[in-house]
Amino acid sequence: MTLLDQDHQPSRRQFLTLVGAGVGAAAARLGAGPAFAQGGAPVKIGVLAIRAGIAAPVGAAGLRATEWWAERVNKAGGILGRPVQLVVEEESNPKDTVERYRKLVLQDQVEVVLGGISTGVTLALGPVAEDLGTPWLSWDGTTQKGVEETMPNPKWAFKSVDNEVEAIVAGILTPKYFKGIKTVAGIGNDYSYGHDCWESYQAVLKRYLPDVKFVLELFPKLGVTDFTSHIAAIQQSKADLLMCSFWSGDATIIMKQAAAVGLFKTMKGVFTTAGGVHDSLKKEFTPEGLLLGYNTMYFDDPKGSALLKQFVREYKAKHNEYPPYECDHAYFNAESYKAAVEKAAGAAKRWPEKAQVVKALEGIEIESLSGRRSWREDHVQMCSFYQGMTTHKNSYDFVTISPVEVVSTRQAMKPAGAKLFDWISGWKI
């Protein structure tokens, strides 16, 4: 909360004046660029986080990971000796969020903006970021309209993985784990994400199982809390398998209401994204043997790094929850920015211009919580997706997955410039 505190405005202004004076004096004296003279002054990093509504838990996870990162970096001496200071603003609707973005860049004069989850919002942020000429690294938002990229060659905007990748990964894994599937029903939220996931999943599955029939598709509104009628319709469809792309509390609810009528006693299940609320999928109502997707970070990865283990431990201790994937989108954004600044600074350790940082970000690969992550040349996040079969064999009261399938975006995300469905139909299987 203190991060949102704007009460220090006057003193901050005085402070900036002082810094400004110092910069001038130092520049005059040393003949160096302004960056050198700023050494020690905090580097301001803007953060946009959703704080209300259905995606508030996702926003909270991203913000918590960013704060964890900032604490660590500051303990270790900051970035090139400058401590990190987060300026947090709320992500809400596109119009207001764009205004807050402008405020971060123009008024707070941050060096970089991190965050952005809803693609509805980040589609609007993309062009603004290009205009304002400050690097923007998006946690989970893309600049896709549906599955089509709208900004193929951005200069300042860095975007998340394509929205439909987890559905594609699930489509690749479905034939491996569920042999003999003939009919499939689908349920997803009634907006771009739900529809795109369903389309992509169907396209991929068709490649592996050309005879598969899609017998039912349901798109309840985002935020619905009663699925008894939907489940009845799914039962009636007598499909062999249900594909569900819910990612918020509705995933928990449909699981519970499905268990109440024994849906998964007769039907297989694929939950592409329910790992976003993984610790609410209690064993009592979540059966074993479902395919469950954790997006791009699996907190309990047996092959996880020491960094991941430390993060999970400290996150649990502080927030009494186990971290979801959004944490690693956020961590990667922040850490890759730091790495890019240090790379661009070079041996002279001069604070680089924003444009130099952006150049350094392109193609950079770093160690993130879930493993190696990088920025593709066209500014799209490259990482791995974690999915697997649900199991009760663990020490938690919720399900985990075993075995863990790790699928890289190199395999499951369309290459820069490609059309999604052309690309899928071109696969050699």
């Binding site: 209300a52 009628s229 609410s280």
Partner: protein
């Protein structure tokens, strides 16, 4: 919850958007109560008792909201009521997030404590039947309260003609506080009872409020019978839509509202009460 909305609107002429938050609050209180109950070793078969008690207990918030906020806007334009109760919605959402956190909360496996029944070829959790029975009991109890008790007569008198009731010596402030608390408790109880079948989410109230208003409009503002029939009609028609033509599901509730408003502008049972 629709019943709560009706009681409050009928008597106080207040559009209470906050009833959605009361619903959410009841749900969270229910989750916590059942959690404590289970960790204290209570027999699982009786979990509905702490659940319902928790739901009723947090209904006390109604007094605070009514005495602390709403009483200042009774004589103002409806817009003030809408704004104020919407502010309560936003504050409660944040309060819930601060107390219970951001993840969805649920009561784990208690939903199936009472087992499942085979009914006409479908599997029905017994708990669903308990909730249906409970809502019938609540409906009957409110009917009895409104028509058979002195307080019910005062409520109806106040709804009909506030000035006259006041002139006859009824302390309206107390009536209002009681009525609003009753309405709140109906909302929180509803939230608590439904929670074993679903999961508590901080924004669940906002989602429900639209639907509750549609139900109330269909049934007729201020009519208890209307709320009951409206809820039933919306529920049944929606289920039919999902299994017959899923695309229609969301549209349907508004179609019914439009049809009802065109044919019977006061709602199905709106005639006398509103």
């Amino acid at each position: 919850m629709a019943a709560g909305l009706q009681v409050v609107f009928g008597v106080q002429k207040i559009f209470n958007l906050a009833c959605g938050s009361f619903y959410a609050l009841g749900a969270y209180a229910g989750v916590s109560a059942v959690g404590w109950y289970a960790s204290a070793g209570g027999p699982p078969a009786l979990f509905v008792v702490p659940l319902a008690l928790a739901g009723l207990a947090v209904g006390a918030v109604g007094v605070v909201v009514e005495r602390g906020l709403l009483r200042f806007v009774y004589d103002r334009d409806e817009t003030f009521q809408l704004l104020l109760t919407f502010a309560v919605v936003l504050m409660m959402e944040d309060a819930i997030r601060m107390i219970w956190g951001t993840s969805p909360r649920s009561t784990s496996g208690l939903y199936l404590t009472y087992g499942q029944l085979q009914l006409l070829g479908a599997t029905v959790p017994v708990y669903n039947l308990i909730v249906i029975a409970a809502s019938l009991v609540i409906a009957l109890a409110i009917g009895w309260l409104l028509t058979r008790t002195a307080f019910g007569r005062i409520m109806r008198a106040a709804a009909d003609n506030r000035e006259m009731a006041e002139a006859l010596g009824v302390d309206m402030r107390r009536v209002y506080a009681k009525v609003f608390t009753l309405g709140t408790a109906l909302g929180t109880l509803g939230g608590a009872l439904v929670i074993p079948a679903t999961a508590a989410m901080s924004e669940m109230g906002i989602e429900l409020i639209v639907e509750a208003f549609a139900v109330v409009v269909i049934g007729g503002l201020g009519s208890m019978r209307g709320a009951f029939v409206g809820a039933l009609a919306v529920g049944v028609l929606r289920s039919i839509a999902i299994s017959v033509y899923p695309e229609l599901e969301m549209l349907l509730i508004y179609l019914i509202v439009i049809v009802v408003l065109v044919l019977r502008p006061r709602g199905l049972f709106g005639g006398a009460a509103a």
